[in-house]
Structures are given as C-alpha cells and as structure tokens.
Symmetry: C3
Subunit: 203 residues, 3 copies
C-alpha cells in the first residue's frame, strides 16, 4: 500500500497539532494524561466539529484508530524529548502552519463533496483548520490565541476564497489545492515573522 | 416572494444577536475577524446546538447561506458604526430580548415537530435561546452572564411552560406563539428595568 | 416493572453527578436556575457528547424525560438540604466515583454495540465518564479538575483496558463489567485517600 500526498500531509498535520497541544498542556503543568488529552483534542478537534456539523458520524477518528495511535505516540515522544524538541520551535511553527493549510483544504473539500455553497465551504474549511486550537485554549482557560494574536482564521478564509477563485479561472483542482496550502502556510510565516496583525478596537 | 412574520422576526433576532456578539468581542479588543467569528457564533450557536442534539444535520446555517451573509453585514456595520449604535443601547437590549423570545419559540416548535415530550421541548427552546450567549462568553473567557445576572434562562423556561398551558386551554397555536414571545420579551424588560434577580448562594 | 442492576447504578450515577454539579455551581454563587443548568450539564454531558460523536440522535436524555426529572429533583433537593448534605462529603465522593465507573462502562459498551475497535471504545468510555465534569468546569471558568488533580481520566482508561483484558481471558461479560466498575471506584478512592498523582511538568 502506498501513501498519497494528501495522506502524507494529513499525517504531518496531525503530528504537528499533537505536538502543539502537548506543549501548550505542559506549559500549564498538566499531568501526562492531561497532556495526552489536550494533544488529542487539538489534533482531532477541527475534524470532529466539521463532521458533527455535517452529520457525518461516527466522526472520522472513530473510524480509523491509526490517527489515535499516531497522536498517542507523538504525545509520548513530545513528553520524553521535550528539551530536544524545544530547540526546534521554528520547525514546530512551520509544521503547525502547514497543518493549518492542509486541514483547511480538507474541510473545504468535504464541504464541496456534500454539495454546500462556496461561502459555507470556506467556513467549514476555517472551522476544520482552527477549531482544534480554540478547544485547546478554552480547556486551558485562556482566551483562544485565534482571537488575540496575529492573522489566523483570516489566513484560512483568504485561502478558501483563493481556492474558489483559482478553480473559477480553470486551474486544475489538485494544483489549486497545493497553491492554497502553500498560500496559507506562507501568509502565516510572513505575518508571524514581521509581527503583522489586524487593527484592534478600544474605547 | 413575501416574507412571513416568523421569518421577519427571525431575521431581526439574528441581527440583534450578531450586534450583541460584535459588541462583546469589541469590548474584549479582538481584531475584526475575531469580532466576526464571535458575532457569528452568538447568532447561530443556539440553533446549531439544537440541530446537533436532534441530529438534524447539516445544521441550519449550512443549508441557507443568507443567514451567514446577514450576520457578516451586521457585524461589519456594527464595527463601522459602533459609536452611533452605542447610543441605542436600549434598542439593542430590546432586540436581544425579542430575539431570545423568538429563538426560544422556534426551538420549542422544532421539538414538537420531532415528537418530543413537552418538558424536553421546553429544554430545547431554552437551549436555542440561550446557547449562543453561553458559547460567546465561554470563548471570551468570562463566566457566562446567563449564570451570573438577572433572569435569563428562567424567562425561556417560563415562556415554554406558558406555551403548553395556553395550547392546553385551547388557545390557537399562532396566537399562543406571539403571546409567549411577548411574555419573554416583557419579563426580560421588567427584570432588567427593576434590577430583579433570583437569590444567590453563599456559605 | 422491575429495575435491573444497570439501571439502578445509572440512576445512582445520575444523582451523584447532579449533586456534584449543584455543589460546584453553588460554590460559584450562581442563582438557582444556574445551579439547575450546571447540575443538568454535569449529569448528561458525558452521554450527550458520546451520542453526538456516534451520531445516535436525538441524544439519550431527549428520549427519556425521566432522567431530566431525576436531575431536577436532585438539584432542588441539594439546594434545600445543602447544609445537611455537606456533612456527607465523603458519601458524595464515593457516589461520584461509582458514577464515573458506571458511565465509563456504559460508554465502552455502547462503542462495542456500534462495532468500534477496542481503543476507540476505551476513548468513548472515558469521554462518557469525564465529559460532564469538563463542561461543568469550563462553564464555571476554571481549568477542568480532570487536568489538574489526581488520576481521573487515567482511571477510566485503565478500567477500559482492564475490561478488554478480562473478556480476552474468557471472563463472563457481566462479571467483567462489575469488576471494572469496582476497579475504577477503588482506584479513585485509593488515589484521593493517599493524595497520589501523576508527575507534573515544569521548566
């Protein structure tokens, strides 16, 4: 059995989100099982909310135990090698951004398969990309980073709009997907590198 | 195509909840996309939880993109005209209470269509009316106002009981609906105007 | 009509979780309806999340109004007799642990009925046992105790693994269930009695 590009990136995305969740949980000094649960929730949160909203149940992670094993192993590895991995903070951020791009694309695609309108597909992609992090931060009792910091959901929404534009102008679907993932990834890197953010409100 | 009374009030309710969500998010100094997401969640949260619990998926807002557009436009308008709208704080509160009444009635009615028992219908109405605000406050990291302040869920529960009482005593269904919406609306106004609240607990 | 062992313990579990939710809400000084809602959420949260993930809707508590009535009565009783019940803190903890054991077993069993793999069944049991408390603590704006304190989800996971081990070694299913419930219950009591906990992380 060979693994396709899509599966390969999904696996990388799952690993990245599991690592990000593990780190967030360890910073809040949770015990190992708390860390495991937060890693799990961060990795499968987005896809679970997507499948619940669509009524595509049992949700994805219940039908394929391999993703659960992958998250478990990633989480355990993060706990044991945390000093080592910490040095790769930049690598982590890059994987997280790649995961965001791919999960957004997967959600968007699933919306199209379900025959929903483009605006709803963009929303579904954004939910798939972002919701794992929202649930993680809510459980850890902080205002979700998505609402606080640099462009995050915005990158997903812009990526979704880009996808429909590219397809509208006859770009091949597979090429458009890779372009969108690259776009979201690059946008995140530029935004974080140059500390860009949308204007905030004050009274 | 003409718009019925029910649709008209649902549109007003959606707008009101979107405005209330936008204001709450701006007070927490979120960026424009954070404001948009909170407005969206506040408006569609109650109906989404209702549809998920019933298994009526894809959930309502996925099937009708117009509500998403309505929330988007309302949220943008609130951001740009916030100084102007701020003066209409009382108007906002009135719309919010009207929305609470209607959304409660819509949830109750959907429970009846699904053949659930009266007690469950009342719970479903209360969830539809209140859950948008609960999710909003949870995401913004405050104890939901519903648990803190004046009568809120209580108004929905009492309204639900009133509906079944009126129908039991042979009142026409449409008339009973309007009466319940007016009841919840009026109760909220009286409670907030005279700062009434249920007794709290202390040790 | 006679009540089986399983129903009897489910009723006890529901009562225990309702009491635990009521106490948590009263400590946060919520009004009576806030207390009722938190009690309700604590009692039905785990089963609701389980049924949503499985797509078994309308969720359980909507199909049987008796559990709602049971929670309502328990909550009201807790409010009125709170001084009296407070003395039975140990009793409460014991019931809570019993409830945890049983709800875990119920979730596990439902996963088996749905033909899911053992690992997923253990996850489903853990979710059923723990999620009521997670939602309760999230709504009350504290980091869920499950992530903070002594072994909690861990007990559910170990109980789930024990069940499949016992069944693998030909133990009768009914006997294995009782053994698992007793195991989770006993583990919780020992852990809390001797203040055991998993090691935490610090930098």
């Amino acid at each position: 059995m060979t693994i396709g590009t899509s599966e390969a990136i999904e696996i990388l995305g799952t690993i990245s989100f599991a690592i990000s969740g593990s780190f967030a949980a360890m910073q809040k000094r949770l015990d190992p099982f708390g860390v495991l649960i937060i890693a799990f929730v961060t990795s499968i949160g987005g896809g679970t909310v997507r499948d619940l909203l669509l009524g595509d149940t049992p949700v994805a992670w219940m039908r394929d135990v391999n993703y659960c094993l992958l998250i478990l192993l990633t989480s355990i590895a993060t706990i044991f090698f945390k000093r080592h991995i910490k040095k790769f903070k930049v690598t982590l951020f890059l994987f997280d951004s790649l995961g965001l791009g791919l999960f957004t694309m997967l959600g968007l695609q699933k919306g199209i398969v379900f025959g929903l309108s483009p605006g709803i597909c963009v929303a579904l992609g954004t939910i798939t990309g972002c919701f794992g992090g929202i649930i993680r931060d809510t459980l850890l009792n902080t205002i979700p980073l998505i609402f606080r910091k640099e462009v995050y959901a915005t990158a997903c929404i812009m990526g979704g709009i880009l996808y429909f534009s590219l397809v509208h102008f006859q770009m091949k679907s597979d090429l458009a997907k890779v372009a969108v993932i690259a776009f979201i990834f690059t946008l995140r890197v530029i935004v974080v590198r140059y500390k860009l953010s949308l204007p905030k409100f004050g009274y």
